[in-house]
């Protein structure tokens, strides 16, 4: 049986949970960095339309987008040692945390590769043709015209992704990792004040997400500062609004 609600506990729990924030942030930070690397590698065959690799990358993305992250955690934790065992790599004694980071990295990698693909596809075809028409090579066009604009387009998508990743890390406790949510479970069990722990926990997640959202909005404005219209819209956007969805596909290139 739960004890009576007591707001005092919320304040008491917050610092206790914050002591484990570093684990949460470690999972988010390292899985996002690895995810960017994976995402870029996975996006390449689709950007370059490489026949077989393109299929593989689609399969990878579909799998990680189409299955619950909870299942992915279990699959990686129990499955990876098996698979690596076949090639005689023993990871069975590795700390759980590494498996958790691997799962979130693989998962974010799938979404990030989609983000990269969509952002590149959203850059106006007409500008790419203009670049070609003045004699720029494919590489010059990519680095000087496509990439800078794709970056601006991808920031709100990336912001959503990081915030989603942060919230997903709360599932890591199912494998016994002591991050904030895991800690809240033990606090709740010890004191029987579950509701208070969840309130404290929500407050922490909310404040961090809110900070991230503001940060990404600022970054989007900064990167897109050439676009007067858009940055003005962003300034007016209220914080209650979710990060703005951007149109994913640019106008068809051919004019006339």
């Amino acid at each position: 049986m739960s004890r009576r609600f007591d707001i005092q506990y919320v304040f008491e729990f917050i610092p206790k949970l914050l002591a484990y924030l570093n684990i949460t942030l470690l999972i988010v930070g390292s899985s996002i960095v690895l995810g960017l690397l994976i995402g870029l590698i996975v996006a390449l065959p689709r950007l370059y339309n490489t026949p077989v690799l393109k299929r593989l990358s689609q399969l990878y993305v579909s799998f990680f987008r189409g299955t619950p992250i909870l299942i992915q955690l279990f699959l990686v934790y129990y499955g990876l040692p098996e698979v690596l065992g076949w090639i005689h790599i023993d990871v069975s004694r590795l700390a759980v945390l590494y498996f958790v980071i691997a799962t979130y990295a693989l998962n974010s990698g799938a979404f990030i590769s989609e983000m990269i693909r969509a952002s590149v596809a959203a850059v106006d075809r007409g500008q790419i043709e203009a670049a070609h028409s003045i004699g720029m090579s494919g590489y010059q066009t990519f680095t000087r015209v496509i990439a800078p604009q794709a970056l601006g387009i991808s920031i709100p998508l990336f912001g959503n992704l990081v915030i989603g990743n942060l919230k997903d890390t709360s599932l890591a406790f199912t494998l016994g990792v002591m991050e904030m949510t895991g800690r809240s479970q033990t606090l709740g069990t010890a004191t029987q004040h579950f509701i208070e722990t969840y309130i404290a926990l929500s407050l922490i997640y909310f404040v961090i997400s809110f900070g991230l959202e503001k940060g990404f909005q600022w970054m989007e404005r900064y990167v897109n500062r050439f676009d007067g219209h858009r940055s003005e819209q962003m300034l007016r956007a209220s914080w209650r609004r979710p990060l703005r969805a951007v149109p994913l596909l640019g106008k068809g290139g051919k004019s006339g």
Binding site: D124, I134, R144, F226, D227, S255, G256
Partner: protein, 250 residues
């Protein structure tokens, strides 16, 4: 001199260009007319290989580029000798007017930045945008953006500038300023091929008018000939549709 010979292009089952032959002399202004879908844009885009023709040849001076799979180097050469002004302006949105014009000079022609800046500022001055160098495309009107597009083409000092309906996307009150700029550079003797529906402009500025329909050149000639005494029935019908009142009586 620009010479197209036997230029053909098929999209799916539709043959859009049927062995087009066209010669444009140095300093000449050629206006291309024709109904929608007649292949005007496709022909223009084949000249700088934004579209690869299935067969035929594009020759500019001594450079001859042939068929569907020319070398990368040939295409690069061709694009260095041509410039295009697009219906939708296609300015680089993340660069200022000045940077838009400089881009080809610094990145492709490898001209030092200071010199490129000087050339670009002069070109923008020429199209009447001397005071807008540091504006981004998003801060310019359609007419101003198109004039930046023209400056970007001019700066490259190409042997020919290709215009694809440069005023079709503009509000009517902005058409005049852009046509005026094109008219001015035409007088400087720059070779131009212009696809347009602006008949008044065609009549004033063109040295030659080419009428296309169904992927072929139906007829070509001096503006007075084409507008007042078209030989072909198809040309007559097209002109009648575009200019219903007989305003060629002068």
């Amino acid at each position: 001199m620009i010479q197209l010979s036997g230029l053909s292009k098929t999209f799916g089952t539709q043959q859009v260009l049927k062995e087009i032959d066209l010669t444009v002399d140095k300093g000449e202004v050629v206006v291309i007319l024709g109904p929608s879908g007649s292949g005007k844009t496709t022909m223009l885009r084949c000249i700088n290989y934004l579209e690869r023709p299935d067969a035929g040849e594009v020759r500019i001076g001594h450079l001859a580029v042939q068929g569907k799979h020319p070398s990368r180097r040939d295409i690069h050469q061709l694009r260095q000798r041509t410039a295009m002004v697009f219906q939708q302006y296609n300015l680089f949105k993340h660069r200022t007017a000045l940077e838009n014009v400089m881009e080809g000079l610094t990145v492709v022609q490898r001209i030092p930045r200071s010199e490129a800046r000087e050339i670009s500022a002069r070109m923008l001055e020429k199209v009447g945008l001397g005071s807008k160098l540091d504006h981004y495309p998003g801060q310019l009107s359609g007419g101003q953006q198109q004039r930046v597009g023209i400056a970007r083409a001019l700066a490259l000092n190409p042997e020919v500038i290709l215009f694809d309906e440069p005023t079709s996307a503009l509000d009517p009150e902005l058409v005049g300023e852009v046509l005026e700029v094109i008219r001015r550079i035409a007088r400087e003797g720059i070779t131009m091929i212009v696809v347009t529906h602006e008949m008044g402009f065609a009549r004033d500025v063109a040295n030659r008018v080419v009428f296309m329909d169904g992927g072929i050149i139906v007829e070509e000639g001096q503006p007075e000939e084409i507008f007042q005494r078209p030989r072909e029935e198809r040309t007559r019908q097209f002109l009648q549709r575009i200019m219903p009142e007989p305003n060629y009586s002068i």
